[in-house]
Amino acid sequence: MPSASDTVSTTDRRSRGSVALKAVGLLVLAAAVLSFPSVAANPFILSVGVVIMSYAVLATSWNFVGGFTGYISLGHAAYSGLGGYATGLLVIHTGVNPWLGMLLAGLAVAVLAVPIGIASLRVRGASFVIVSIALVLILLLVFQSWGSFTGGSNGLRVPRPFGPEVLRPEQHERFFYLHAALLAVALLTWWLIDRSRFGMGLKAIREDEDKAQALGVPTFTYKLIAFVVSAFFTALGGGLYALWFGFLDPIFQFSILVGSYMVLMSLLGGIRSLFGPFLGAVIVGYAVEYFKNQYGDTQFHLVAMGLLLGLVVLFMPDGIIPAATNLVDRFRPQKTSIREVTQAELAEQRRTAGPEAAQADQQARTDDGTDIPTSDSTVTEGARS
C-alpha cells in the first residue's frame, strides 16, 4: 500500500514526541509537588496540601478497581477506615513501630479484602455499588458500638510517630512528603498494571466482561486481584492519614461521603488516566477545603460537590484529562486513516506510480503467501462502509 511507510513513520515520530512531552510533564509535576511545602504560605495551607495528597492517594487506590474494571465502589472508605484503625490499634496495643504497623495494617486489610471481594464481585453494576455501601455501614455500626476496643463514638487517639520536639509545621511537611511518596508508589503500580497483559485483561472486563472471558481472561481472578491491590493501597492511605491526624472517629472514617469523594475525584480527572484521580483530588480537595473555610460548618460544600458531580457526568463523562487530550488532538495534524484515500485518488496514484510499483505490490502479496486482501478490496470496503 503506498501510504504504509508514511503511516509508520508518522506514528513513530508522534510517539517519540509524546514520550519526550510526557517525561517533561512528569518532571514538572514532581517539581511542583516537591516544592509545595516550601512555597506554602502558612501551616494551614500546608495542612490542606496534606489533606489533598491523602485524597490523591485514596482516589488513585480506588482507581485500581474503578478505572481498570469499571466496578464502581462507593464504599472504599471501609478500607481506608480499617487501615487507619488497624494502624492505630496496632501501635497502641503492641507498641510496634508505627511505619511497620501501617504496613501490617495494609496487609491485614488486603487479606480481609479477599473474602469481601469474593462475595461482592459476583454481582455487577448497581448491585455491586449497593453491596459496597453496605460494608461501610456495617463497619460504622461495629466501630461505634464496640467502644471498649475501638474507642467507640469518642474516637481513637493515635500516637504520633514523630516526637514532641517536631513542631506542627514540620509534622505537616514530613507527612506531605510521606503521602507524596505513597502516591508515587501507587501511581507506579497503576502504570505497571496499565501496560501489562493483566491490565489489558482488566480493561477488557470494564468494556465487556463476558466477551473478555470468552477470550480466555480469567475474569473473576483478575477482578479479585485488582480489588485486593486497591484495598491494600487504600488501607495504607488510611493508615498514613491516621498517623498524621492522630485521631479517628468512626463517623468520619466509615462515611459514605469519603467513598463518594474518591469516586467523584476519579471521575472528574478521568478514570482511564493514570493521573486522573490525582488531578480530581487536587480540584475536589481544594474545593472542599475552600467551601468549608468560607461557609464554616454549613452543608454548603456538599451541595457544591453534588452539583460538580452532576456537571461532570453530564458534560465530561470521561473526565478532564481525556476531554483535554481530545481538545489538544484536534489541533494536531490528523491521524492517517483509510478514509483519507478515496478509490479515485488511489487509482490516480497508481497511474502516476507506473507499472514498477504495481509489480512490487504484486510481489509483496505473493511473498506473504496469505490471502491479504488487495488494496482495491480494502478501499472498496472503506467506501462501502
Binding site: 473478555a212 477470550l215 491479504i372 462501502r384
Partner: protein, 255 residues
C-alpha cells in the same frame, strides 16, 4: 439417512460433542436432551428455525450458561460446566451473536486481550511486546483491517467490527472456532469475504462450528450440518443429505 452417510461420521475424530444436553428456563426446555457430535478439522454448521435452541446450546457448550443435565466434551475431555475462560484456553474460541468488540479500546488493544497463558511473568509483562504486535498485525491484515489499528473499535463500521471480532478470536490461536451468525447483518460482499476466511483457516486445520440462518452460506461452506428443532437435533449429514430430508423441510416450512 443412507447407510454410507451414517458410517462416514463414525470414522471422524470428534471435536466438541454433547450427550443428552438439557437446559430449562422455568417451564421452557430450550435444549432438550441434545446429543450432537461435531467433527474435528471440518466446517460444521448448526442450523434450525428461530427459537429452536441453537444459541442456548451454543452458550451451554461454551460455558456461558450451565446446562441442567448432560455432558459436553471436547476432544475426549469432559468440559461440562467449566468456566468460559477454561473452555477458551482448552482451544475453543467463539464469536458472539450481533458481534461484540471492546468499544472504547483501539483495534490493536482489542487484539491483545486474548489470553494464551496465565503464567504470572507473562501476565505482568508489557502487553505490547513485539511478537504479539506482529501476530496481531498479521491477523488484522489477513481479515483486511490492518489500516484501522489505531482506531477505537466503536468508530469502525459494523462489518469491520465483525472482522475484528474474528481476528481477536484468532489471537488466542484456538483449534476450534465457534461462530454465532457470522453473516448476520452484513452485506453480501463481506459474507463472501468471511466465507473465504473460514475456508482458508479450515484448510490450515482449524475446526469450525457455525450457527447460521443464511442457508446459501451454510450449504456452500459446511462439510457437516446439524439441524436443530425444539431443542434437539432432528437430522444431520452433508449439506445435500440435509437439504433433501423431509424432517428438515417440515421443521422449516411447517409442511
Amino acid at each position: 439417512m443412507t447407510a454410507t452417510a451414517d458410517a462416514a461420521p463414525a470414522q471422524q475424530t470428534a471435536s466438541l460433542a454433547t450427550v443428552g444436553l438439557t437446559k430449562r428456563f422455568g417451564g421452557v426446555t430450550a435444549v432438550d436432551g441434545a446429543s450432537v457430535t461435531f467433527h474435528h478439522g471440518k466446517v460444521n454448521a448448526l442450523i434450525g428455525p428461530n427459537g429452536s435452541g441453537k444459541t442456548t446450546f451454543f452458550n451451554c457448550v461454551t460455558g456461558m450458561i450451565k446446562p441442567d443435565e448432560g455432558t459436553v466434551s471436547y476432544r475426549g475431555a469432559d468440559i461440562t460446566g467449566k468456566a468460559p475462560h477454561r473452555i477458551a484456553r482448552a482451544g475453543v474460541g467463539r464469536s458472539f451473536q450481533l458481534c461484540r468488540v471492546f468499544p472504547r479500546m483501539t483495534v490493536m488493544e482489542n487484539m491483545l486481550v486474548a489470553v494464551r497463558s496465565t503464567s504470572l511473568r507473562r501476565q505482568l509483562a508489557s502487553a505490547r511486546d513485539a511478537e504479539e504486535l506482529d501476530r496481531a498485525r498479521g491477523l488484522l491484515a489477513r481479515v483486511g483491517i490492518e489500516h484501522l489499528e489505531h482506531s477505537l473499535a466503536r468508530d469502525i463500521s459494523y462489518g469491520q467490527q465483525k472482522l475484528l471480532e474474528l481476528a481477536g478470536v484468532l489471537m488466542a490461536d484456538p483449534e476450534t472456532i465457534m461462530l454465532d451468525e457470522p453473516a448476520g447483518g452484513v452485506n453480501p460482499a463481506l459474507i463472501d469475504r468471511i466465507a473465504n476466511l473460514v475456508r482458508s483457516l479450515n484448510a490450515e486445520g482449524k475446526t469450525f462450528i457455525v450457527v447460521e440462518h443464511n442457508m446459501e452460506l451454510v450449504m456452500g461452506l459446511s462439510d457437516h450440518v446439524v439441524v436443530f428443532d425444539r431443542g434437539r437435533p432432528i437430522c444431520e449429514g452433508t449439506p445435500t443429505v440435509v437439504q433433501s430430508d423431509p424432517r428438515v423441510l417440515e421443521a422449516y416450512l411447517g409442511i
